[in-house]
């Protein structure tokens, strides 16, 4: 079971199948036909019906350079989700500096001083381009 999940295509197929089931149920509820003609659920339901046999085919395919998931990108995805969740409460400055420092030290294997310098430099550049030059209202600090 867990060995099967080492293949990215299997993981992708499970996720796509889950999405397809949700879309299938919702399109059934929307209806395929109304008194005035074709309903809003018609095309999505046909699409879901076509998707399942294709999913079956793709998990059976083999690639010469079959890849496996690696830890770094998966950790990065979690970090990015946490970052996005904290932004509305903390503003851009603190989470972004923390993200860049963590990114350069964990994934790019640089020392923390370089991480801090780079994050300061990039956030300053971002501020100049987006806030100063392009006049985008970006909340840099916590909003409370």
């Amino acid at each position: 079971m867990f060995r099967a999940l080492e293949r990215p295509v299997n993981v992708a197929a499970i996720l796509i199948a889950a999405v397809a089931v949700a879309f299938g149920i919702a399109s059934w509820r929307l209806g395929f036909w109304t008194d005035d003609g074709p309903g809003p659920g018609l095309l999505p339901f046909v699409t879901v019906c076509l998707l399942f046999p294709i999913l079956f085919l793709i998990v059976r395919e083999k690639f010469d350079d079959e890849e496996r998931f690696k830890a770094d990108p998966l950790v990065a995805i979690i970090m990015l989700c946490v970052y996005a969740a904290t932004l509305p409460y903390l503003g851009f400055l603190v989470p972004t500096v923390a993200l860049i420092v963590a990114w350069t030290t964990i994934f790019e294997r640089q020392n923390i001083v370089r991480g801090i310098v780079l994050s300061g430099f990039l956030v300053a550049c971002g501020w100049v381009i987006f806030v100063y030059l392009l006049r985008v209202p970006m909340p840099l600090l916590p909003v409370w």
């Binding site: 990215p8 295509v9 993981v11 992708a12 197929a13 996720l15 796509i16 999405v19 397809a20 879309f23 399109s27 929307l30 003609g37 074709p38 809003p40 659920g41 018609l42 095309l43 999505p44 699409t47 879901v48 076509l50 998707l51 294709i54 085919l57 793709i58 059976r60 395919e61 083999k62 690639f63 010469d64 998931f69 770094d72 990108p73 990065a76 995805i77 990015l80 989700c81 970052y83 996005a84 932004l87 509305p88 851009f92 972004t96 993200l99 860049i100 990114w103 994934f107 790019e108 294997r109 640089q110 370089r114 780079l118 956030v123 971002g126 987006f130 392009l134 985008v136 209202p137 970006m138």
Partner: protein, 505 residues
């Protein structure tokens, strides 16, 4: 003919306005700059820089900048192919073969300049042809009804799923998934909310820009985290810049053939720069008197594909601007850029927004001249960019993507969508599922749905209406042939068949 010439001059009068020249220049510099950096291709570049164009003061300036970024990235992509054997973008993969061999022999200069000159000639020729073909296409497309639009959308999606060289099953899977996600939002026919789960932000559908930036831009950054290692740049061996007489002779025919081939391929939905360059390489090898030189530094192996990919890049604007149907992933991202500026591409664009249509086409002439100037004498400067440490690039691009996404609507939900789409982009890339057909299907989903339902209403609920009109019947017929052939070859090859991994950059 005369009318087209008048319109081109009208477009030129707009393109040479100081602010538009500035946008074109900025786009060319940004595109070349990011295109030169390995791992960041035109789709990623345009997707990440898309929000910057939102800040442009007028739609024409924004679209000129986007188109210039595209060409710039195409030009820049060849530099890394030749000097690093790392294609800056997918269409330059084939350039690596002979370009890198030339660089190893100390002929990097001629390889780089023939790539730039070939791209310039092909790009300019293609834009001239586009000026005449575009209006003819638009005139023809005005007569299209819902059955024709439905048939064309199906045709484009089938080709995008099957033509890329990867597994057709995976291509179809991504097309179907793209249709489902593209249908989220308010149904345009009944006004009912579809799949929005009561979330107000989804009532107008999933926002295209964060989705594409996540799938292509962030997904690429995450994927590149796995690709560690130092790059060896052959900068010391650039040598003389211009090709010698013999090299010119070898390249001239290849540039001409590559230009024509690329232009024709770019017109086909699902075609585009990658297929143009692959076809050109095989044609040149077949026509060559010395095919054994290919793979060992044949200059025609650089000139042909580079010309073809630039010609295809220009001609892929024809289905986008005249039919409103993006033919490949790059034009799908450009489609998003046009929508941000409230410009609806399609047959009526020539009537409603002639300034944008002709201004963009004319700016391509100007952009090609700028790129030649930027890429030939300044090639040494771009090469220096390759010395920027990789550990700086990832966080820099990440930050541009995050700030850029927020700047679009000052909305936190967009940033969350960017992250989710980025994660999805990484998983899809690992699973060899190409995000290109997904992006096309996402954009075409509502066009398909609305035209299918309108067609069914026209036919009193009978689907036969689609095959009873000559044009839609012909398109459906060709589509059916492609599907049957693909299914037949797929099952004939069986499970033993190994497929190419798609390149989403």
């Amino acid at each position: 003919m005369l009318n087209s010439l008048e319109q081109i001059f009208y477009g030129l009068s707009l393109a040479v306005l100081p602010q538009n020249l500035l946008y074109a220049f900025m786009g060319c510099v940004l595109g070349t700059l990011v295109g030169v950096l390995p791992g960041l291709g035109p789709i990623t570049t345009i997707a990440v820089l898309l929000p910057l164009t939102f800040q442009a003061s007028d739609p024409l300036g924004a679209i000129i900048m986007l188109a210039s970024i595209y060409y710039g990235a195409m030009y820049g992509g060849s530099t890394t192919s030749i000097l690093l054997r790392v294609p800056g973008e997918a269409a330059s993969v084939i350039t690596c073969i002979d370009g890198y061999e030339m660089a190893k022999q100390g002929r990097a200069g001629p390889a780089l300049s023939i790539a730039a000159i070939g791209s310039f000639i092909a790009g300019t020729g293609s834009v001239i042809a586009l000026s005449f073909v575009g209006p003819a296409f638009a005139k023809f497309a005005v007569s299209f009804g819902p059955p024709e639009y439905f048939a064309l959308a199906i045709f484009g999606l089938v080709l995008s799923a099957t033509i890329g060289g990867g597994s057709p099953a995976r291509g179809f899977c991504m097309v179907l998934l793209g249709i489902l996600f593209g249908l989220v939002g308010t149904d345009t026919v009944t006004g009912v909310e579809r799949f929005a789960m009561g979330v107000p932000a989804l009532a107008d559908g999933i926002d295209l820009v964060p989705l594409l930036m996540g799938l292509f831009g962030l997904g690429e950054i995450l994927y590149n985290l796995e690709q560690k290692g130092e790059l060896s740049v052959l900068t010391s061996k650039i040598g003389r810049l211009l090709p010698n007489r013999e090299e010119w002779k070898e390249s001239a025919g290849a540039i001409g053939r590559g230009s024509v081939l690329g232009f024709l391929v770019g017109l086909i939905p699902g075609g585009g720069a990658i297929i143009g360059s692959l076809l050109s390489y095989s044609v040149e090898k077949k026509l060559s008197k010395t095919p054994e030189k290919f793979g060992r530094g044949a200059i025609a192996g650089v000139a042909g594909p580079e010309s073809a990919n630039n010609a295809a890049a220009s001609s892929s604007f024809v289905p986008l601007l005249t039919l409103g149907l993006p033919g490949n992933a790059v034009t799908a991202v450009l489609f998003a850029g046009l929508l941000i500026q409230n410009v609806q591409p399609g047959p009526l664009m020539l009537v409603k927004n002639p300034d944008i249509f002709w201004g963009v086409i004319a700016s391509m002439y100007v952009g090609n001249v700028m790129l030649l100037i930027l890429n030939l004498p300044l090639v040494g400067l771009w090469v220096q960019l390759l010395r920027v440490p990789v550990w700086i690039l990832g966080p820099a691009v990440l930050l541009v993507a995050i700030f850029g996404t927020y700047s679009l609507r000052s909305n936190w939900t967009d940033v969350s969508l960017l992250m989710i789409a980025g994660g999805a982009g990484y998983v899809l890339r690992k699973a060899a599922l190409d995000a290109g057909p997904f992006a096309m299907a996402f954009i075409l989903a509502n066009i398909m749905d609305t035209s299918l339902r309108q067609a069914l209403l026209m036919g009193d609920g009978n689907i036969a209406i689609i095959v009873s009109r000559p044009l839609s019947a012909s398109i459906i017929g060709v589509t059916a042939v492609v599907v049957i052939y693909t299914v037949y070859s797929y099952f004939k090859a069986g499970r033993a068949k190994k497929y190419e991994r798609p390149d989403n950059s």
